[in-house]
C-alpha cells in the first residue's frame, strides 16, 4: 500500500510536470472560469420591460412585462471533441433581475473550446425529480402545479392585435412527446475560441432575441395565438427559439 502510494505520488509529479509544458493536458490541467453574459434584445433594440414597444415582422405591436427563461446543461467542446459539462447547470435568467443576466462557470479545465451548447429549458429528468432548490425552486414562479413541470420560457406582455384582453401569455414548457419543448442549441462562436486559462477571465456575450420567439419556422400571429401554456402551440414557439433566439454576440478573451 505504501509502495503504491509512493508510485502514485511519483506519477502525479510527473503528470504535473508534463502538464506545465503541455497546456491542455486533460487530467491535471489547471482550471479557469468562464463568464456568461446575456443581453436581451428585440431585433436590434435592447429589451425594455413594460415601456418598450416592438413590432413583429407581421406588423403587430407588442410590449413585454416579463421575460424569464432557463438556460441549463451548459457544455463546452474542444476541437478534439473532449467536452466539459457544467455540473448542476441550471440558470434562471430574468430580464427584471440584472444579477441573473451574468453568471460564471467555475473550474472549467483549461483549454481552447471551439463550441458552446446549452438547453433552453430544463431536462426531462429534473422535471420529475421532486422538490428542487436554487434556480429550480418552484417558488421562482417557473413551475406549473396542475400539470407539474417547469416553464422553460415565460414571456408576458400585451399586443393590440391579441384577442380577448389583449394580453400576451407565452409560457413555454412541457417535456412529454409530442409536445416536448426542451431545445438544445449550439450558437456559433463565429470562429472564435473560448480560451480557458488559470489566469484569465474570458466571457461569452450571448444575445437572446425576443423577436425570434415569434419569427422563424412558425411565424406567430397574435390574433390567433396569444396565450399558450404548454401543448402543441408551445412547440411552435420552442421551434422558433431553437432556430436562432440565442446568438453569440462576441467572446472576450480576457
Amino acid at each position: 500500500m505504501k509502495f503504491r502510494s509512493f508510485t502514485l505520488l511519483c506519477f502525479s509529479f510527473l503528470t504535473i510536470a508534463l502538464a506545465a509544458c503541455k497546456e491542455d493536458a486533460d487530467v491535471l490541467a489547471p482550471a479557469g472560469t468562464l463568464d456568461i453574459e446575456l443581453d436581451h434584445v428585440v431585433g436590434t433594440t435592447p429589451l425594455t420591460l413594460t415601456t418598450g414597444t416592438y413590432t413583429t415582422p407581421l406588423g403587430q405591436q407588442f410590449t413585454v412585462s416579463t421575460f424569464n427563461y432557463y438556460l441549463s446543461n451548459i457544455r463546452l467542446k474542444k476541437a478534439d471533441g473532449t467536452e466539459y459539462a457544467e455540473p448542476e447547470s441550471y440558470h434562471l435568467v430574468k430580464e427584471s433581475d440584472a444579477t441573473t443576466k451574468a453568471f460564471t462557470l467555475k473550474d472549467v479545465p483549461a483549454g481552447d473550446y471551439t463550441s458552446l451548447s446549452f438547453t433552453i429549458g430544463v431536462d426531462s429528468a429534473r422535471n420529475v425529480s421532486g422538490a428542487q432548490t436554487g434556480a429550480l425552486d418552484p417558488s421562482n414562479g417557473m413551475f406549473w402545479t396542475w400539470n407539474s413541470g417547469y416553464i422553460y420560457t415565460k414571456l408576458e406582455g400585451s399586443s393590440p392585435q391579441a384577442g380577448g384582453n389583449k394580453q400576451l401569455l407565452f409560457h413555454i414548457g412541457g417535456f412529454k412527446k409530442p409536445n416536448n419543448t426542451i431545445r438544445t442549441v449550439s450558437p456559433s462562436l463565429n470562429g472564435a475560441t473560448i480560451q480557458i486559462r488559470k489566469d484569465r477571465t474570458p466571457a461569452v456575450h450571448l444575445a437572446a432575441d425576443v423577436l425570434k420567439m415569434f419569427t422563424g419556422p412558425n411565424p406567430i400571429n397574435f390574433a390567433t395565438l396569444s396565450n399558450t401554456m404548454g401543448g402543441s402551440s408551445s412547440v411552435l414557439v420552442a421551434d422558433n427559439q431553437a432556430a436562432g433566439m440565442f446568438r453569440v454576440d462576441h467572446v472576450h478573451a480576457n
Partner: protein, 347 residues
C-alpha cells in the same frame, strides 16, 4: 413485519392512558418497509430517508390550515384518516370560502407506489404534488411564498425545520420534503385481504369473499390489477357521452384520445371511501357495480374492453357475482391504517 405490527398496536393502545410525549420513543415512522405482497415502490425511502423528526414535521404540516389562504383548510380537511384519507360524504372537494372543486378528493394511501398523482395524472412526483391543491383557487388558494412566510414567522416551525434540515430560513424544498415524509408514510397494507395473501393470522376469507376475489381478478383485474388493485392507467369507463365538463387526462396531454379518461383508482379501503368516481356521482358500491353491468354509455374514447359484440358496453355481472364482489371489497378495509395514531392529527 410482526414487530412493526406490534408497535403499531402499541401505538393504538397507549394514547388511551398516556400522553403522546410519553409514547414518542416507542414507535418508528410508519410505511418505511415494503410489505411482502407489494411491488417495489416508485418513491424509495432513499429519496427522502424517513426520520421521526421529519415525519412529525410533515404530519404537522399536513394538518396545518395555515397552508390555505383563509387559514381554515388543511390537507387533512379533505383527506380524513378515518376514511382512508378521502373526504367523507363529499362528492366534490370543498375548498376555501366554501368553494367546490370539480373532482372527488381521492383516498391517500400507498402513494410511494404512484408515479403520477391526481385523477388526471397531472402531478408527476409525490414531493411536488401538494403545490397543486395549495395553489388551486378552489382548494387552498394560497401561494408558495405566503405559505413559507407564515411558516417562517412561526418560531416553533423554524426550530423544527432547522433541526431536520440544518439551515434557515424554511424554503420550499424543505416544506415539500417534509410533507412527503408524511404522505409517503401512508401505507395501507394490513387489510384482511393482505393477511390472507401473506398467510398471516386473521387472514381467513369466507366462501363468498373468495368467490368475489375470483370475480374481481377475472372481470375487473385488467384495470384493478395486482396487489394495489390498479394498473395506474387512465381509462374511460363509460360515465358520459361528452366531456365538456371535465376532459380528464386530455387536460394534461392535450390529446383528443385521452378525453374522458381518468386514473384507475386503487380498490384498497374502497368500502370506506364513498362517494365514487372522479366526480363522486355514485353513493354506494352497489351503484358502481350496477354502472359497470348495465349503466355505461358509449363515447369515442370508451375503453375497448367494455365493448361487447352484442348489447351495449359493460361487464357481464350476475346478481350473485355482485354480492360476492361486495363481500370481497370489504376485506380490503384496513382499520389498522385508519386508526394508526401516528398518522392522526396531533392533539
Amino acid at each position: 413485519m410482526r414487530r412493526l405490527v406490534l408497535l403499531g398496536l402499541a401505538g393504538l393502545l397507549l394514547p388511551a392512558c398516556t400522553t403522546e410525549a410519553d409514547v414518542a420513543p416507542a414507535w418508528e415512522v410508519p410505511g418505511t418497509e415494503v410489505p411482502a405482497n407489494f411491488p417495489a415502490p416508485v418513491y424509495a425511502t432513499s429519496q427522502n430517508p424517513p426520520s421521526r423528526e421529519a415525519f412529525e414535521l410533515g404530519r404537522s404540516l399536513f394538518y396545518d390550515p395555515r397552508l390555505s389562504r383563509t387559514g381554515d383548510i388543511s390537507c387533512g380537511s379533505c383527506h380524513q384518516q378515518f376514511v382512508a384519507f378521502a373526504h367523507q360524504d363529499h362528492r366534490l372537494s370543498h375548498g376555501v370560502d366554501n368553494l367546490l372543486g370539480t373532482r372527488n378528493a381521492p383516498a391517500l394511501q400507498n402513494l410511494r407506489w404512484r408515479s403520477e398523482l391526481l385523477w388526471d395524472g397531472g402531478a408527476k412526483h409525490l414531493e411536488t404534488m401538494p403545490l397543486a391543491p395549495i395553489t388551486n383557487p378552489v382548494e387552498m388558494d394560497e401561494t408558495l411564498e405566503n405559505v413559507l412566510r407564515k411558516l417562517n414567522a412561526d418560531a416553533g416551525y423554524q426550530q423544527r425545520f432547522e433541526r431536520v434540515y440544518g439551515r434557515r430560513p424554511i424554503d420550499s424544498q424543505q416544506l415539500l420534503k417534509a410533507l412527503a415524509q408524511f404522505t409517503a408514510a401512508l401505507t395501507s397494507s394490513n387489510s384482511r385481504y393482505d393477511h390472507y395473501r401473506r398467510h398471516e393470522a386473521g387472514g381467513e376469507l369466507s366462501a363468498p369473499e373468495l368467490r368475489g376475489l375470483q370475480v374481481l381478478r377475472q372481470k375487473c383485474g385488467a384495470c384493478h390489477a395486482g396487489e394495489l388493485f390498479t394498473d395506474e392507467t387512465y381509462r374511460n369507463n363509460g360515465l358520459d357521452r361528452t366531456f365538456a365538463a371535465d376532459s380528464g387526462r386530455a387536460h394534461i396531454t392535450g390529446r383528443p384520445q385521452d378525453a374522458g379518461r381518468f386514473k384507475v383508482p386503487s380498490l384498497r379501503n374502497v368500502a370506506l371511501t364513498p362517494p365514487y368516481m372522479h366526480d363522486g356521482r355514485f353513493r354506494t358500491l352497489r351503484e358502481v357495480l350496477d354502472h359497470y353491468s348495465g349503466g355505461m354509455v358509449e363515447s369515442g374514447t370508451l375503453d375497448a374492453q367494455f365493448r361487447r359484440s352484442t348489447g351495449g358496453p359493460g361487464i357481464a355481472l350476475t346478481d350473485d357475482e355482485k354480492t360476492d364482489l361486495l363481500a370481497f371489497l370489504q376485506t380490503l378495509t384496513d382499520t389498522e391504517f385508519t386508526h394508526d395514531q401516528r398518522l392522526a392529527e396531533h392533539r
